[in-house]
Subunit: 275 residues, 2 copies
C-alpha cells in the first residue's frame, strides 16, 4: 500500500478554502529567494502555485547570491513590519556568507510560517502546537492522523537529526507518547532499531539506506527524503521492493512533499486568523 500525500494534501486545501472564506480576507504569504539554486526555484514555484490555488496572495522577493547579510536582515525586518503580510518564509539553503541561524532568528515568531524560529521550535518541543509546526513534520503527523495510527506506546525510529525534519518530528512523536529512537549517520546498526520498529520515519538523504530486510512486514515506513544523483532520484528506502511486500511507504506518487506545501498554506491561514 502506498500512502498518497497528494490526496491528503487535497483534503487540507479543501478545508483551507472554507477557512479562508470564513476569514473574509485573502491571507498573504511572503517569500524570500536568494540566488539561483534550481531546486529552491522549483520549491518556490510549487508554493506559489498552491498559494494561488487555495486563495493566498503570494509576494516573492528575489535577491542575487551576492546580497549581504545586513541587507537581507533589512528585508526580513520589512516583512516583519509589513501589516499586509501575514507570514513569510526564507527559502533555504542560503549562500555561505549568510548565517542562516541569524536570519531565521530575525523572523518575527508571529510570522514564521515555516516554524523554524527557536521560539516556535521550542513550542513544538514543549507540546504547544497551536502556532507554527515546521511543515514537513506537521505533514507527517497528518499522515498518522489520516491512517488512524495511535502512536502511544509505539516504537518509532526517526532517521536523521535535522532542525527541519528529524528533531521536530521526534519531539512531536515523543509528545504523542511514542517511544522514539533518533538515529543518525554515526549510529552503528540502524537495522537493529528499524527491525523492532512499528513506524520508521526516514529523513536521512542516504540512497538505499533501508533495505527490505531491515524492517518487518507491518512496519509503517515514511520515506521523507530523496537524493538526486546524475538526474536520477534515489530514496532512503528500497521503495519498490517494500511496496511489493505491502509495507506502506510514501514516495512518488504522492510523497510527503505536497503535504509540506499544504501545511505551509495552513500555517499562513493560521497567521492571518491570529492577527
Amino acid at each position: 500500500m502506498i500512502i498518497n500525500g497528494r490526496k491528503i494534501a487535497d483534503t487540507i486545501y479543501g478545508d483551507l478554502k472554507i477557512e479562508i472564506k470564513k476569514l473574509g480576507k485573502k491571507p498573504t504569504l511572503g517569500a524570500i529567494l536568494v540566488g539561483d539554486n534550481a531546486a529552491s526555484a522549483t520549491y518556490i514555484k510549487q508554493k506559489q502555485k498552491w498559494a494561488d490555488f487555495v486563495g493566498i496572495n503570494f509576494i516573492l522577493k528575489k535577491f542575487p547570491e551576492s546580497i549581504s547579510e545586513a541587507d537581507l536582515l533589512k528585508e526580513i525586518h520589512d516583512f516583519n513590519d509589513d501589516r499586509n503580510v501575514d507570514g513569510f518564509i526564507v527559502q533555504l539553503p542560503l549562500p555561505k556568507h549568510i548565517r542562516s541561524k541569524k536570519i531565521i532568528g530575525a523572523i518575527s515568531p508571529l510570522k514564521d510560517v515555516d516554524g523554524f524560529h527557536p521560539e516556535n521550535q521550542g513550542k513544538v518541543m514543549i507540546g504547544d502546537t497551536s502556532w507554527f509546526v515546521p511543515c514537513t513534520p506537521a505533514g507527517i503527523m497528518r499522515i498518522f492522523e489520516k491512517l488512524n495510527v495511535d502512536l502511544s506506546g509505539k516504537n518509532v525510529v526517526v532517521i536523521g537529526r535535522s532542525n527541519i525534519v528529524g528533531k521536530p518530528i521526534a519531539n512531536l512523536l515523543i509528545n504523542a507518547w511514542a517511544t522514539v529512537t533518533v538515529c543518525n549517520s554515526k549510529t552503528k546498526k540502524i537495522d537493529a532499531f528499524t527491525r523492532k520498529a512499528d513506524v520508521v520515519v526516514s529523513a536521512a538523504g542516504s540512497p538505499g539506506l533501508i533495505k527490505l530486510s531491515d524492517i518487518n512486514v507491518n512496519t509503517l515506513v515514511i520515506d521523507v527524503w530523496f537524493t538526486i544523483v546524475d538526474g536520477k532520484t534515489y530514496w532512503d528506502t528500497d521503495f519498490n521492493n517494500m511496496n511489493l511486500w505491502g509495507v506502506m511507504v510514501t514516495p512518488v506518487p504522492g510523497w510527503v512533499g505536497p503535504l509540506t506545501v499544504a501545511m505551509l498554506m495552513k500555517n499562513t491561514v493560521t497567521a492571518c486568523s491570529r492577527k
Copy 2:
C-alpha cells in the same frame, strides 16, 4: 563507582567565582515562590545558599497560594523590567489555578535562567547552547564532559519525557550525535532498550523502575529522579545493587541535584555578562 555530583558542582563554583571577579560586579538572581510547598521551600533555600556562597545577590519574592495569575504576571513583568535583576526563576510547581505555560512564556528569554521559555528550549533543540540550557540537563551534560564520555554513536536511553529534564536532555544528546531513545510510561518493554544502552538517563520518578538485570555491566546509569514515600526516598534505579556491580550511578551522596543548582548559578553569571 559513584559519580559525585557534589564534587563536580564544586569545580563549577570555583570557575564561577573567577568569572564573577572578572565581571567586576555581583550578579543578581531573582526567585518567585508561590505557596507553602515544603519541597519548593527546600529547593529555594538551597539556591539561596549557593548563590550566597558563589557571590550572587539573591532576591526572593514570596506570595501566598491565593495569588491570582494576573498578579503573578505583574510580578514577572516587574522582574523583566528591573535593570538590577540579571535573571530570575519561578519555582515550580505553581498552584492549579495558575497556568504554568503562561507564566513561563511571560519571562523575558534574556532573563530566563531556568531555560524553560520556549525560545530557550528551541535554541537547545536546534543546537544553540550559548544562552540558557535547562539546569538539570546541563548538569547531566557536565557529567559526561567530566567523565570524558564521547557520546557520538553511543546508544543512550532517556526515561521520561518532561519539559524540564527528559526532552531537553534528549535533544542535547541528539545534537551530540548519540543515538537516543526516549522511553515513557507507555513504553512496553523498557528493559529491551536499557539492556542495549551504553548510557541510561532515568528521570521517571518511578521507584525501582530499573533493576540490575535490566542493564549491562558497563552501562553508565544516571539516576536523576527520586520519589519520597512515607518520608523514605526511592530512586528509579536499584541503586545499591548497581553500585556493588560497579555500574556508575549518581544518587546520594553527590546526586545530580547539586549540579542543577550550580548550573542555575552559571546561567545567572551568563545573564549578567551578556547584559
